[in-house]
């Protein structure tokens, strides 16, 4: 029988408010333990939580960006569970009336658009942090009470790769809204995954497992693939799948069973008596809607239209807000109508420089004018592509301009045939087999010879000229 995976994701986004969701404690990351706590977030008797207006607005903003319906009436509920990271033994969350529901996010799957439903987005408070050591656990409640928006997808995702796309796009949208830094390393974005398999074409859901401890989008993808295989193997062996929570072990690249999770009803939700309900009127929603900037999908379409970029290029350049602003500044400043060279440089060499320096593209200090200068030098044939990369690296390291670097490093491209003839002859002599291959009709082997000439000239030879010369020389002979 052929099976299909059914995947739903729960994403927790930490909203970047200055203070916590129900009290005035700061939310600064990395503060000394238990220095950002008060009677409210520690749940001392007699304290009263009061909702942070900004946290509600941010939640509505995300809900709108995810095409959700915003509830006109919303309230908070208590979720009960006993664990040392929760000083009150209750978490203030939302049960039956989440702020936002019934939305969607369109993702790209193999060049097609797929719509993933968003079941709900609700606001809740974060728990504290435990550090396990020996037989003790150390508890820091600074994170307790920080606003979390939980975004729950419909089980519309049918492959690990789709889950990866969904998360990438979701992060991108939230980041554009300026409501969270979405930094997984800091825990500002966390993801749990629900997965089951069912015979292809059937409607009923199989028994699911929930995967936790997913610390990167790659971990989500790998863990889902592992879990799908595990389910399929159990099915094939005629064994029962148990509904349970499993932990992803990054090192061993496998999931491990956790003690079975308490059933939803065991959380014993009831309306939070300390917080009166909230009404959100249409005009307020309209005001918040106006603060939503151009979102990644719209920007991508505009980049394709305004700058003639391919879908692939446009998608990479809108991935984060900073990247898109940086890219657009450079695309605009490029004097020619054909913007392809700029896109190539941004996605190719400049992205590589950013990567190798552990930085974002937007942190690479190459001004629009400086980039235009490099591209101009290549297009006019003054330097080779290879030399241009050297110029780029040097420019980032020293801040010098391209012309100076070309002079100082003697990178001017050699396009003069007479100056290249000696090197070409030497390469022909050294590689009789490749020359023979070319003559026997293997046209591609000429590229190897070109490469050798480039090497001998330390990248300064004009590869196009070298190729023409070699072709003439070897065909004539």
């Amino acid at each position: 029988m052929e099976y299909e995976p059914v995947i739903g994701l729960e994403v927790h986004v930490q909203l970047e408010t200055r203070t916590k969701v129900f009290c005035g404690c700061l939310t600064d990351f990395g503060a000394e333990p238990n220095t950002q706590v008060c009677p409210v977030c520690l749940g001392f008797p007699g304290s009263l939580p009061v909702l942070n207006k900004t946290a509600l607005e941010y939640s509505i903003k995300v809900g709108l960006a995810l095409n959700c319906a915003i509830q006109g009436f919303t309230k908070f509920d208590r979720k009960h569970y006993y664990y040392p990271d929760l000083p009150k033994n209750i978490q203030i969350s939302q049960y039956d009336l989440p702020i936002a529901k019934d939305g969607y996010l369109d993702i790209g799957v193999n060049g097609q658009t797929k719509r993933i439903g968003i079941r709900r987005a609700h606001l809740e408070e974060d728990a504290g942090k435990l550090i396990h050591r020996g037989n003790a656990s150390l508890v820091d409640y600074n994170r307790t009470g920080q606003p979390l928006l939980e975004i729950v997808s419909e089980p519309d995702i049918s492959a690990p790769e789709e889950a990866y796309e969904y998360l990438t796009d979701l992060k991108s949208v939230v980041e554009y809204l300026d409501v969270s830094d979405c930094d997984m390393e800091k825990g500002s974005l966390r993801c749990d995954a629900n997965i089951s398999v069912r015979p292809r074409g059937t409607k009923e859901l199989g028994t699911k497992s929930e995967i936790k401890n997913l610390n990167s989008f790659k971990a989500v993808r790998d863990a889902l693939q592992y879990e799908i295989n595990r389910h399929l193997e159990l099915k094939a062996a005629g064994e029962q799948i148990v509904q349970e929570t499993r932990l992803w072990d990054e090192k061993e690249t496998k999931t491990l069973s956790m003690r079975s999770k308490e059933e939803a009803k065991d959380y014993r939700y009831f309306p939070e008596p300390d917080l009166p309900p909230f009404t959100i009127d249409k005009s307020r929603i309209g005001e918040i809607r106006k603060t939503i900037p151009e979102l990644p999908k719209e920007k991508m379409r505009r980049f394709m239209k305004d700058y003639g970029l391919t879908l692939y290029d446009a998608r990479l350049l809108v991935i984060s807000k900073n990247t898109s602003l940086y890219a657009e500044e450079r695309l605009k400043a490029f004097p020619s109508k054909d913007k392809k060279p700029v896109a190539n440089w941004l996605i190719g060499p400049m992205a590589q420089e950013a990567n190798s320096r552990n930085k974002e593209l937007a942190d690479i200090p190459v001004s629009p004018a400086a980039l235009n200068e490099i591209i101009g030098l290549v297009e006019s044939g003054q330097i080779s592509n290879l030399a241009a990369k050297t110029v780029l690296t040097e420019m980032i390291d020293s801040g010098k301009n391209a012309g100076t670097i070309v002079r100082e490093k003697n990178l001017v491209q050699i396009s003069d045939e007479s100056a290249l003839a000696t090197e070409m002859e030497a390469v022909i002599k050294e590689n009789p087999k490749v020359v023979g291959d070319f003559k026997a009709g293997k046209e591609n082997s000429i590229m190897f010879l070109v490469g050798q000439v480039m090497k001998r000239t330390k990248g300064k030879a004009n590869p196009k000229i070298v190729r023409d010369m070699l072709k003439r020389r070897l065909t004539d002979a």
Binding site: R18, G24, L275, P276
Partner: protein, 95 residues
């Protein structure tokens, strides 16, 4: 409403409370009486009554996103039986 000892034990377990057998007896009896009392609510006619989520009649009580001083850490930890380097220390728990 009859309340089985299993249910009481289960709820105690969820709340991480250990009960001695005689406590289990006594609490089961008391909880049962409480539930019976609450069962009176079932007799009320609530047709056409909107669910109540709050009794104070208030709505939209919010605060601006403005910091207020937190507690000094000594005060926060003052009643903790075990503490170390600004942390609360509890027996090791791993889910």
């Amino acid at each position: 409403m009859a309340l089985s000892k299993e249910t009481v034990r289960y709820v105690a377990d969820l709340s991480r409370i250990e009960l001695r057998p005689e406590e289990l007896e006594e609490l089961s009896r008391q909880l049962e009486a409480i539930l019976e009392f609450i069962d009176q609510l079932d007799k009320a006619d609530i047709a056409g009554v909107e669910p109540t989520s709050h009794v104070a009649g208030l709505a939209n009580v919010m605060r601006d996103d403005v910091p207020v001083s937190s507690l000094p850490v000594e005060k926060t930890l003052a009643n903790a039986p075990h503490k170390e380097g600004g942390y609360f220390v509890v027996p090791k728990v791993i889910e």
